[in-house]
Amino acid sequence: MSETPKDPLGPGTPDNGDQGQGTTTQGAVPAGKNDAARNGAGRDRDLTSWLPTVVDSIAAVVLALLVGALLIMFSTPRVVESLSYFFSYPWDFFKFSGEAVWDGYRALISGSIGSGTAWTRTLERAAPLICAGLGVSLAFRAGMFNIGAQGQILLGALVGGFIGFHYDLPPGIHLLAALLGALVAGAAWGAIAGILKARTGAHEVITTIMLNYVGRFTMLYFLGKEALQRPDSDNLLSPPVDDSAAFPTIAGVHVGVLLAVVAALFVWWLLERSTLGFEMRAVGANPDAARTAGMSVARVYVSAMALAGMLAGLAATMTVLGRQDSLTDQVAGTVGFDAITVALLGRTTPLGTVLAGLLFGALSAGGLSMQGAAGVPPELTQVLQALIVLFVAAPALVRGIFRLRGQGRKADVMATGW
């Protein structure tokens, strides 16, 4: 897809290529993944070079699930009790741990993909993560670490939500207005960081983190105003958006989820097929070279951050217009920060981000069933997510444990001796 021979973005060092992988004729998903893998591995010096390979990612997930199983075992009172007489009745320990782990992971699976409701939950939780994650990925490819998705989501939610419940417009137009409002607000918020970087060189990590605070307090400030509160209430809670501004639902899932897929396609097209995307990747790989080649680095920074913010604004509509959540200071949850994880786990490619977003959505939805049905502590699903990221970030550790061969990213066999 992207690693065309004439791509000048960086010399792939020979020992760093993903050798031995099928190049063209695999199924759609693995082909995309491998492509993504080579894409990251081939460019030695750009930001994506430290991202792990697909095999590493899968190994990290497996390893996290194994550690999670241990945690489930030792957070089950029955199992811990049976340890005290382990040598009299060792079978109890194995039976109880087996049951605890089986119940827990069965609930995880059935709660995430086991039924129609489960799929709805997974998709609706994945959608905002995917959108915001795409924003982080896009900025990342242009050489910027966008920590500001949280603030961009809040601003998108504020404007989109306000249009959604305050104005009385005909259906369709109302939805469109609220959607546009959220996109524009998110884009504007993101563009601030881009302009600051382009004009003054201020580092985007610092400015976006600070803009998160500004976004949060902007939200709190406006929630204190009568116009955003419910009538006869002083709680910092807005009404939900009108039905005319809400996404319609198809088969129980709001159509915002489809928009997330469209957004992923758009980002892929933008990065791989458009001139602007080419410039973004060039700037991301080497801003000096891009400038020498006649590209406007400032324009790329601003437009990349604006687009990233717009995607975060789209993420905001998933909850505010999709699930008709009321505006509160917590309306964004932790989506903006989870999005960074999703983007990095997805190797900052559109397809990878979608898959990682689905994984996190499924973990979140399945985690609910783990709590409700299997009584697994709620912290555990968050620990699972954290473990996955930890192992992804430490590929040497994962390779060591699974005895994967080769530091040179040639490893694609995980069969030998463990």
Partner: protein
Amino acid sequence: MKKTARMAMVAGLVALSLTACGERDSDESASEPSSSAPTSEATSEAPSEQFPDHKACIVSDSGGFDDKSFNQTSYAGLTKAAEDYGVQTAEVESNAPSEFGDNINEMVQQGCNTIATVGFLLGDATEAAAKKNKDVDFAIVDFAYEKPLPNVKGLTFNTAEPSFLAGYLAAAKSETGTVGTFGGVNIPTVTIFMNGFYQGVQKYNEDEGADVQVIGWNPETQEGSFTNDFENKTLGQSTAEEMITQGADVIFPVAGPAGLGGLQAAQDNDVKAIWVDTDGCESAAEYCDVLLTSVVKAMDVAVEQAILESAQDTFSNEVYEGTLENEGVGLAPYGPEADIDDELSSKIDELKQQIIDGEITVE
């Protein structure tokens, strides 16, 4: 492989030395799921009615059940109901507002008969779930509907009343003539404490001809000091430090876990403080020496009561309001170093009686 075998051997030896003398209690107790097992000690005092077929559940807001504040206290009501009445339990913690609806539905799917939801943020989701599941009883902490559905009970607390007493106490104990209060976020469930506190101080000024000032809250404009964050202890600490610099020698933080920073500041500067929601000498024992008292909001009692009513089929949608009279709110025992003399103590009791009798109204 040799290394692995050696490690396994060491692990085995450790396990052996740790557990060699263990014995299995009995087959029954070991195989019984712990969540539904009524403990035998609980029934020793007064054998209460048992409802092993009743399932009571709880959904937190995004603070989680370990917030040392209202989620945790409400959750204590559920565990207490399990101990006292042998009900089964289940719980779900929410991470974000968009999960509220799903989480309540999950509890419905798990066959819960009573579902307690914690906090006004869950108001809409609770009502929506109650509409769809008419045979499930819902109790929502800190919220009351204008037109409640027949199966939803609001659990509210008039914390202004005990805060009034706390304000009087603070004013009486202040040597500098300045007391300070700050909140988490400017919402009614927080500011009701601050309003009551302010009025208590004014009452002291009237009675004793004193001029004790309250900083951090202005009841006319309904504006004051807020950390705008319930989690960040450092913010609470710096807010309180600032008040102490301005001369306050009694601090009344109404900010959940962030308020713990206020207690820290009081401890560092050798001034007094009053805790909220739970008895600080139990929930934050390390700060017990700075506490005059705590304004207790007995959400655990209210939740347990609602579960019992639901199990007994006496559940109604009438809003519960915790007051000094029904002991749904109150003052905790004075702190060990509060140094409250008998005169002041009896004055507080007198005021409490006057509030119960309606001679003093706290708004």
